[in-house]
Symmetry: C2
Subunit: 232 residues, 2 copies
Amino acid sequence: MPEVSIVLVEPLYDGNIGFTARVMKNFGFTRLVLVNPCPLGDDAVMRASHARDVLDNARWMTVDEVYREFDFVVATTGEVSKSVCTPMRLPYYTPTEVRETVADIDGTVAILFGRENWGLSNEELKRANLICTIPTSEVYPILNLSHAVGILCYELANLPRGTYPLAGPTEMESLYRHLDAFLDRIDHPDFKRENTMILIHRVLGRTKLTTREVSTLHGLMRRTEWHLENKE
Amino acid sequence: MPEVSIVLVEPLYDGNIGFTARVMKNFGFTRLVLVNPCPLGDDAVMRASHARDVLDNARWMTVDEVYREFDFVVATTGEVSKSVCTPMRLPYYTPTEVRETVADIDGTVAILFGRENWGLSNEELKRANLICTIPTSEVYPILNLSHAVGILCYELANLPRGTYPLAGPTEMESLYRHLDAFLDRIDHPDFKRENTMILIHRVLGRTKLTTREVSTLHGLMRRTEWHLENKE
């Protein structure tokens, strides 16, 4: 199975961090990443129970570092923020669909979970390969953080060993830079730019490009650019 | 979808009862049944959060009452007690298989969850239609109670409306009594009796018999009994 890390972005209650460590270990996951968490006190240790090791081995990173290090990043949003219908948060995948999508990835996968009160910011979401929303009741859609993590871990457990070599984050970044420059080249209006780049990000993100495919896309753009030059 | 109730048997920590109420409501379930629970204090109310109504409307029953009232009863066991390999706890179904099995039931379904420390007793398990075990890591298989409930609720959410009319618990009980009497009639040894009856229970339990099928089975046994009489 792909190497899956669970990333908690600015969790507010250390009890939830402890419960997250526990339910991760329950399903065989040990890689916990904490982004600027609340202080870890007795609640964290108590709720982690026999997953103390997961808690102690947690890595502290920034969201930016996560996007730069991991090959495939899934950002989770609640039904609520989904209803705040920005292109940023759509399309969303269910945990089962996420499982199917990452199943064959041979690389590192990070799953981002936002703050208990307002989740992930658009800034934190927009670079994600995939958006995941757990289908919940409209009456009371707010899952406890550790319950949400538990359901993702349950779905992702026992995935077959990945065999799908992904292009790394650096390659993808240079592709996106090339695309951005290409949009300049064809006078794509600035005011539309961000949303267009986000859309491109969503599409290419979930496409799981290989290194070969990335260089082919560069090639196609270079070829187009050459013809644009030589028309003038 | 079938009318699903979550039954907590002698839960030890009221925080888990609160979290259970919350995660139930997150997935649209409102029927909570408590069997001789610990006192419900602030932790229960706090963790229930906006699912206070589920907590307040919880019914108090005995395990025996549950088996007498509900059409289909699923008993959950951990990987651990599964490894205590009694016929009582086998075969076990995964939450996905439980979902598929109860999907078309038009009746009442109860899902039993045992105590945090040692789960359900054999006595509490043996009358169940189905045994369910959530596949977990061997390293740390003990799920928090509310995480286990959450995963079952997540799987069972959004089930289609059931269309499969089940024979009620009373009809099934009389069938099992008839079968037991029939075993007497064919001199089935007492020392094997309990395990045999449990096996029959497991088989007919998951078969989801209709009223018609139950009476047919009675008929077949009566016919056999008649021939047994008239041979002598």
